[in-house]
Symmetry: C2
Subunit: 449 residues, 2 copies
């Protein structure tokens, strides 16, 4: 420790520490992490007296400590539709089941309750940062701020009047841009909450709308978060309607750059992958959702070979059906082995990278989070090791990716604040949230009958 005079707001003894510094899988034994003013201020071999120099001290000597996980693509409020209409083809599911319910029932209260439920789940599973896309983004931001999580929250844009616009009386043009500017302004300089623009998908956004997005993104220097090339049908439609494939069209519209985060990217040809690599645009891999909706397997290991930065997401709970990044790491790795017919195409360290170090870089948050290093924000989690399914321990990496499920998470710290301790929520009240969830469930059931 550099000085015994330093006092920490929070100190942690980590039995095993996986810092993910520079994306390596190095593991350290019995280390101390000192947190001060929301930042990691010290990382050094543990000695007993360090506990005394902390206002608050957590002894996690029997646990693994790693960076908080980053869920790079989700629709948090949709957890209210978890398991509502499963096992349907993608277009039927989205257009005939999900969209009508959303049009009928989604209001600010719905979004708050759904986001609260998802915040409970994310935190319970060790996720500290989410990249969210849903209606009423202002409500999402409010809830996640209260929950203490870190988030990029994007306002959706689509070629029809959205449920929130209907409620708020927003006239799409120019009302949407004004609304976004207000939202963006509100969180300017916020330590944990950032805003972004979310044109829904190439098949739901015409050229005019996308040009508006490009302008807004440039003007405000905010990221653009979009679903891209999720299904084969989407590519066929694009070829028919625009005479080009979706990524090529996005490129021609000038939307591809380092501030562009494309979720899915499954049905992409070599030329499109090259356009992505050249532009510096980012890919978000959603293995569970892609599998459950039967969309396919994104060529993630190819993208990474071309130096495209990749993050990992769960997608919404309606198409996964959970928000566990442990599940996403496990499945994401195994699917790349399958699609490449090569067992080394993606390995455990790669998965952890997508969920932490590389994921943070992909979302433009690399300087703040993604690894446990002095100077970075104090976003970290711990997992218990006293379960039969995580014994014996040969490789921390293998164990975290292939054996851990999510519920073994014990402690979650975001921006230096404890959100979960001994598996118990510190910022949210489960009971109240569950009651609100039950009320909305009953409304949804009534509406769908």
């Amino acid at each position: 420790m550099q000085s015994n005079l330093v006092r920490f707001d929070l100190g942690i003894r980590a039995g095993l520490l996986l810092p993910m510094k520079n994306g390596t899988g190095e593991v350290r034994n019995q280390f101390f992490i000192g947190i001060k003013d929301h930042y990691i201020a010290e990382i050094t071999p543990f000695r007993e007296h360090y506990a005394l120099s902390c206002d608050h001290f957590l002894d996690l000597q029997d646990q693994i400590v790693l960076p908080g996980l980053i869920n790079a693509h989700t629709h948090l409020a949709m957890s209210l539709l978890r398991g509502f209409e499963d096992d349907l083809p993608f277009k039927e599911w989205l257009f005939d089941r999900i969209f009508p319910i959303e049009a009928e029932l989604v209001d600010a209260h719905f979004v708050k309750v759904g986001t609260r439920l998802s915040a409970l789940e994310c935190i319970r599973f060790g996720t500290t940062t989410v990249n969210d896309m849903y209606f009423f983004p202002e409500s999402t931001a409010e809830v996640l701020d209260q929950a203490g999580m870190r988030a990029i929250i994007s306002q959706p844009f689509i070629d029809f009047v959205m449920p929130d616009e209907k409620h708020l009386g927003v006239n799409p043009i120019p009302g949407r841009a004004i609304r976004f500017k207000n939202f963006h302004q509100k969180y300017a300089g916020h330590s944990r909450i950032q805003t972004a623009l979310a044109p829904h998908a190439p098949y739901t956004c015409g050229d005019d709308l996308l040009k508006q997005i490009v302008e807004l993104s440039r003007e405000l220097k905010v990221p653009v978060h979009m679903h891209v090339s999720e299904t084969k049908g989407e590519v066929e439609e694009s070829l028919k309607k625009y005479g080009k494939r979706p990524v090529k069209r996005l490129h021609d519209l000038g939307i591809l750059n380092e501030n562009f985060f494309a979720a899915h990217m499954i049905h992409v040809d070599t030329e499109e992958a090259r356009l992505f690599a050249n532009s510096g645009a980012r890919v978000i891999y959603n293995p569970d959702s892609n599998l459950k909706l039967g969309s396919g397997i994104a060529p993630i290991s190819e993208f990474r070979k071309s130096k495209i930065l990749v993050a990992l997401g769960t997608d919404g709970a309606a198409s996964n059906n959970d928000l566990s990044m442990f599940g996403a790491m496990d499945l994401g790795t195994k699917l790349q082995k399958l699609s490449n017919q090569n067992n080394t195409a993606m390995v455990a360290l790669d998965a952890l990278n997508l969920a932490t170090y590389e994921g943070a870089q992909a979302l433009g948050l690399g300087s703040k989070i993604g690894s446990i290093e002095v100077g970075k924000c104090a976003d970290l989690i711990s997992v218990r090791m006293d379960y039969p399914h995580v014994k014996p321990l040969y490789s921390v990496l293998s164990q975290l990716v292939y054996a851990y499920q999510g519920l073994e998470v014990d402690t979650v710290i975001c921006d230096g604040k404890i959100l979960l301790q001994k598996g118990q929520h510190q910022t949210l009240s489960s009971e109240t949230i569950y009651q609100d969830v039950e009320k909305i469930r009953n409304q949804i059931k009534k509406t769908s009958n």
Copy 2:
């Protein structure tokens, strides 16, 4: 309830009951299950006074009760090698890493400790029945009997002297057959433990060995459990060495019948699938392992269309890396959606069937287990519902398959005996087992260095 005079050894109030009777997904609210002499004796709507007619009563009014899960292919003792050498191609993993360690270290103690660790994990994840294949099957049987689980335990046969044969001084011919007969005799009439023959795989068993298996199986009326067509390479080798594909060769040797359980069955052509369907042979689907080892996706929905009975397994923890049947149900379903490019190719109810009703039939246990019905053995489990990731609840089936992870299991009952209560083991001591596991881990690390 038929009579108020009946007393039950154990009574359960199930908040939601999924009996899986006849493989349907029907769900009942607030039901009572009465257990007497290891069997289910009563299933009826719950009334408060039923609790008084039970020697022991479990109030699971806030939980879902379903049949105990059936893990139809595993190598329990291999949990000691969980995460030991991951992310390698199948042949290198098996021949260069796993087999040498096994040859060096596997003895009866290793098998007992590994099986105890896995029994802890299986029970924790709601598995009541396993179909196991590993060296020292006598030790596996002893441990699973003590743990209170139900099992089919098979003695391996392979074209080299196995670690247990080396230790026990068994001369493969005729020593193996005599050994098996003794093992089989010991468990004749046992209520929970059955024995089986396990020729390892077509690529490790010559024709003479397989003919011996056919004879023994017929003589003793025991099932045969085998790895079949797991990798492409295996099929190519078979074509080169025997001039026929593996399943065709097995058919010609007369091994395919209703008592034959084939794990994997990935690289199978139409003719081979037909041979399976005609013979009544059974398939065991191992989605996690097949994906992790990059082996491929078995054509399960095709098999089931041809009326082949299919069960579900996790495979050993060294190639999964956990023994959660919840994980296997989730992944197994999603992979069939992918490989069929059809979201209805396999749905949640199918997965639950493979893990319960149909799985039991496939393993020849259909009259005893697989559903909660009067007259069947009392093998059942419950899961808690007070987690954010399993709320709200629209469909019990969707939730169990796509959202539950395994650790939500609260109560496990096998043959009328409580093995897990409030998540706590009732028949095994975790602490002692973990200490033994740690000692063997250290030996393995020393040997592999």
